[in-house]
């Protein structure tokens, strides 16, 4: 129970014999480490530069770079550029898009499909999220959410294939309908916009469910109870309270699902037919060839990305206005 200030003598640590130090003690007092640390901590400014240099470089070259290069390639007349010939700047690649209905038809189809599928996903998952967030006890919520997460760890191709088996002419749905005596001959679900829709909603549902769930979960239960005490029915409560307060979750879920839906390639190829060609297939077509069609493909990709960004941007604006209008 006595206090001895002996440590003070070797406060700097240098007087201690450097025999048997613990691991971190050896690191901290190792010459190269000290030198590096001295460089690092010389000034807060230098510390920040060392911390920020690599991420900034990465973001510019790896995140922004591919997009910029795509934009550049979309604006030149030939790619790859033959050595010796100057590359010419041109808008021809973009003009090709408007010239042929074989190009703009899949484009508008893709946007329409994406919008419709996004809406279907919203309608399907909102009640699920609502049920989980409002009618299930905290403890079970996590379990029941986890149950829904499991299939979503499975890849796009495997799940697309599963839908093919479900909807095929000899698939489970047709078998069940036949067995129930509702049909004599199988309904050709496959290779239609219907099968594509089922598949895409299946693939994107989670990206809608999670934002909706976290928005609904944040709603205080007391608000609903207060409204119920004032005599509001379930529908009114939903329309006047839950819906306006979850608009943020709805809009971020919809934007995410819309962007993902426009980008599907394998699923439309496997589940769709000739009458449901999407723009992703059109774009991909230019990349199967050796390379001279790349500028057109790049231009089409730029058109599609720009369109998707404009649509989601306008959508978000509208949703924001709706939200503000409701809180007035």
């Amino acid at each position: 129970m006595t206090y001895d200030a002996s440590v003070r003598k070797d406060r700097d640590g240098h007087t201690a014999p450097s025999g048997d130090r613990p691991f971190w003690g050896r690191v901290a007092n190792w010459g190269p480490y000290r030198a590096f640390s001295a460089i690092l901590t010389a000034s807060p400014r230098r510390q920040f530069i060392i911390l920020a240099a690599f991420p900034i470089l990465w973001l510019l070259t790896q995140h922004l770079g591919p997009m910029l290069q795509m934009l550049r390639v979309s604006l030149i007349d030939a790619y790859p550029v033959a050595p010796g010939t100057p590359q010419a700047f041109t808008f021809d690649n973009y003009m090709r898009f408007f010239g042929d209905r074989i190009f703009w038809q899949p484009f508008f189809r893709t946007l329409t499909f994406a919008a419709v599928f996004t809406f279907c996903t919203l309608i399907l998952t909102y009640p699920v999220a609502y049920f989980l967030a409002r009618h299930v006890s905290r403890k079970n919520q996590m379990l029941m959410l986890l149950l829904l997460l499991i299939p979503f760890w499975v890849g796009e191709i495997v799940r697309t294939y599963a839908i093919m088996i479900l909807l095929g002419n000899t698939g489970a749905v047709n078998l069940a309908l036949k067995w129930l005596g509702l049909i004599d001959r199988p309904i050709p679900f496959m290779y239609t916009s219907f099968s594509m829709g089922i598949g895409i909603v299946y693939l994107t549902a989670l990206y809608m469910l999670l934002p909706l769930y976290s928005a609904l979960e944040k709603l205080p239960q007391s608000m609903n109870e207060a409204a119920a005490d004032l005599g509001a029915g379930a529908w009114t409560r939903f329309r006047r309270i839950s819906l306006p307060l979850t608009i943020e979750g709805i809009s971020s879920g919809c934007i995410l699902v819309f962007l993902i839906s426009t980008g599907f390639y394998a699923t439309p190829v496997l589940l769709g037919g000739p009458s449901t060609t999407v723009f992703a297939e059109t774009i991909a077509g230019f990349f199967h060839v050796a390379g001279d069609e790349w500028p057109t493909g790049a231009a089409f990709a730029v058109i599609m990305f720009a369109a998707a960004l404009v649509i989601t941007g306008v959508f978000q604006k509208v949703m924001n206005m709706l939200r503000k209008g409701d809180t007035k």
Binding site: M1, T2, Y3, D4, A5, S6, V7, R8, D10, R11, D12, G13, H14, A16, P17, S18, G19, D20, R21, P22, W24, G25, A28, N29, T41
Partner: protein, 359 residues
């Protein structure tokens, strides 16, 4: 005392538009238990963080042990801190927490072991070495935090409201422990709190802060009985405030006029000019009740309006006659309290018990 351990030289600090500290200068001697006391936002925590090296002052210098440390990062100062939330490392055992600083100093395993044993037995933490902070009670965590900060033998120990998280019962015990630890180690403690009782119990010296400035700097008794400003008088303990006019000086005493009555007090913060409006403070326990006018410099007549039983003592409220209903409050022991009836009564106090305040 040759030179102070800590010399704070005119430091100021702003956060955006808010002034946290304004031209603070202060010396702290080695072995002192100094408490910075004040409401939240008064600048006490900023001072602590500047001493710890977590903030840099906009102007001014901090000299520690003769060395200018104003721009030194925390890891280069011989200063350690007990954090408000203790900030124990949750993924390290008690032992690893305490030896964290010792390892970084480059001490040998055997030396670390010796120091660890010494500090754990000193703070009665034997047997907890292999536990994780999550497995300890609030009081134990507080002691581990103290052990961790004391282990590297800092020149100055900073304590940032370390008792705030403890329940009231434990707090009293820990206050006594802290004080005795400080005495045994002869360490300089820089303690920050908003709890005036805590400050009075433990400190050798209290610095009362308000709006980034020092209101008063002195011993606990000094601050309690001779507050210089209205802020200090109200912040520390309970007091009677009497507003009147300055009359003049009579020997050692300051004479004031209060509803036509002449009262005598002292002025620790300097004598006000004649005719000025002034406020004086009289502590509740300095008021005495008398059936007849006593032979004291200050005596007023009135009658008791309420009595509140507080256990060991009683609070008595009286309305003073010939005023606009001004009230005085006093602490008396329970027996005296019971003996006071409805008859008019005299309240009296010494001129030394009444401090004329700076506003």
């Amino acid at each position: 005392m040759t030179s102070p351990l800590v010399h704070i030289d005119g430091i100021s600090k702003r956060f955006g538009d808010a002034v946290a500290l304004e031209n603070l200068s202060l010396d702290i001697a080695e072995g002192e238990f100094v408490t910075f006391l004040g409401p939240s936002g008064c600048g006490k925590s900023t001072t602590l963080r500047i001493l710890g090296g977590f903030e840099r002052p906009d102007t001014g210098r901090v000299i520690l042990d003769g060395e200018d440390v104003t721009n030194q990062p925390p890891e280069r100062r011989h200063v350690n801190m007990v954090f408000q939330d203790y900030a124990l490392f949750p993924h390290m055992t008690v032992q690893q927490n305490i030896s964290f600083a010792l390892e970084l100093k480059g001490m040998d395993k055997s030396a670390i072991k010796r120091r660890l044993d010494e500090i754990t037995s000193f703070l009665e933490l034997d047997g907890f070495g292999d536990r994780y902070p999550g497995q300890l009670s609030g009081g134990q965590r507080q002691r581990v935090a103290l052990a961790r900060a004391l282990a590297p033998d800092p020149a100055l120990l900073l304590l940032d409201e370390p008792l705030g998280a403890l329940d009231a019962k434990l707090r009293g015990q820990v206050q006594r422990e802290l004080k005795s630890i400080q005495r045994q180690t002869h360490k300089t403690f820089f303690f920050v709190t908003h709890d005036q009782e805590e400050a009075l119990t433990m400190s050798d010296r209290i610095v009362v802060m308000n709006k980034g400035r020092v209101e008063q700097d002195g011993t606990p008794e000094d601050l309690y009985f001779h507050p210089q400003s209205r802020f200090v008088a109200e912040f520390i303990g309970e007091t009677n405030l009497l507003s009147g006019k300055m009359r003049g000086v009579d020997g050692e005493a300051v004479v004031m006029d209060w509803f036509g009555q002449t009262l005598r007090g002292h002025a620790p913060s300097g004598v006000p000019t004649e005719g000025a409006s002034i406020t004086a403070s009289v502590r509740l326990e300095k008021l005495g009740f008398h059936k007849a006018r006593p032979d004291l410099p200050n005596a007023v007549q009135g009658h008791v309006v309420s009595k509140t039983f507080l256990g060991s003592r009683m609070a008595v409220d009286m309305v003073v006659d010939q005023t606009d209903g001004a009230k005085l409050r006093a602490f008396v022991d329970a027996d005296t309290g019971h003996s006071i009836g409805d008859d008019p009564i005299w309240a009296a106090w010494d001129s030394d018990s009444m401090a004329v305040l700076r506003d």
